[in-house]
Amino acid sequence: MSASAQGADEQPRGADAAAGVLPRLLTGAGEPGAISLRRHVQLHGPLPAQRDGGRRRARPTGDALIEEVARAGLLGRGGAAFPAATKMRAVADARGRAIVLANGTEAEPASSKDDTLLQTLPHLVIDGAVAAGEAVGAEEAIIAVSELAATSAESVAIAIEERERALSGSRHAPRVRLVTVPGHFVAGQETAVVSHVNGGAAKPLFTPPLPFQSGVGGRPTLVSNVETLAHIALIARHGAAWFRELGTPAQPGSALVTLCGPVAHPGVYEIEQGASLASLIAAAGGAEEPLHGALLGGYSGTWIAAGLLGGVALSNEHLAPHGATLGAGVVLLLSADACPVAETVRLARWLSDQSARQCGPCLHGLDALAAALEQLAAGGGGSRPAQRIERLSALIAGRGACSHPDGAVNVTLSALEAFGADFADHARNGPCEACTRPPQLPLPARPSSGERRHAESARR
């Protein structure tokens, strides 16, 4: 696949949205500062109106966009790859006035694609929220941004003001407003964002009801990742057939990925779904060091050992044989001089600290899992730590209100599989030379979601 990756800092190729050409979403992203409303309309044209000033839900025309999104086969880009049109239809069909919640919280520390969109292309996201909002009959669209992403929040706030000035009396219905959300890991989970907007804690809720049934203010709420909405903004303009000119039949279109690790130009790239990992690395200037492996899909994702990376293509169907998904688009390369055991131990401890501390199996289980990994990495425990990890993994998964514990178990087990020899070596001989090298996985000192006192007392 040629021309499969386009960096955020490269020049766009023109505004005519030519067939099968990248960039799509990142058109204009290389220009300095945020794209203004005027420039945005220059680049993409105006958002087609879906209805003519109707006040109530505009079903016939709203359905047209949902149908188009369904034909496009757009899958959600927040990590779960849920069909976007199915979600839109569920919200449109639910009783009560709908609301759109654009999730740009991007709690995943290794990911910066949502930030890139919000910072540089806020109008594309807002267009998507407005178009999707009209389609599901919403009167309000909320753009949720992490309070750690001040520049993104500012960029969105300015964009909203610009639109209010320019589009007063516009036919596009939903009001748009910005909400900032606490920065801890699970605060980006969709029910946690809903809970925060409703004035509660930014922690996951017990479901059902799911947000499409009862979300913000008890209304049917379309919670969609900001990249998903940005794609909808372009599908509304160019249609499903155009969207499918890139990607695979099962996973059409382009996707934003965040490439981290030892490459010349790490950052956000727009790829064709199904593009090879090699082409992405090449677009980023190539790997500067030999690799130990790659983490696909972020911190709840799956490790793939270096020996298997040659054939990896970036779409869920191609990644399935590796037990991986693209998730929210994180591709993290681990260089050969890093210790995967030390990285896994640090990650497991960090994920434990990021538990919302609501569910016992997550609160206690992730702490125990991290402790068992620490024990294994220290060596001298024989086979007991490994057995304990296995037992805990089976015990923890599926028992939280959200999938945070499942993700932590998944990434841990995949590390054990991908780097089995390294773990066996540590179990026998203890820490290796590389254990003391600086960490490669970015693990920011994020606020814990739990009560501070509780969080501190739990940490020795």
Partner: protein, 73 residues
């Protein structure tokens, strides 16, 4: 029509009453939180499950009827 049990893990505070009253389906993990075996409830077990749900101090045990079609979006 069969029923099944579910735990609200946010509400659950590991009192352990459910495992006392419904050992046929519930055991406790090493921290005292319920582990469900996932099998449906039949016959007299439904009554036992309802009693266990009522006994839970935080109402974290739910007894739900299986519906032929459950829709999720």
């Amino acid at each position: 029509m069969s029923s099944h049990i579910r735990v609200n893990p946010i509400a659950c505070e590991a009192h352990g009453m459910c495992a006392e009253l419904l050992p046929e389906r519930i055991t406790l993990d090493e921290w005292g939180y319920p582990v469900l075996d996932g099998r449906p409830l039949e016959g007299a077990l439904v009554q036992h499950a309802l009693r266990a749900a009522q006994a839970c101090p935080t109402f974290a045990l739910l007894v739900e009827r299986d519906r032929p079609h459950t829709r999720r979006g």
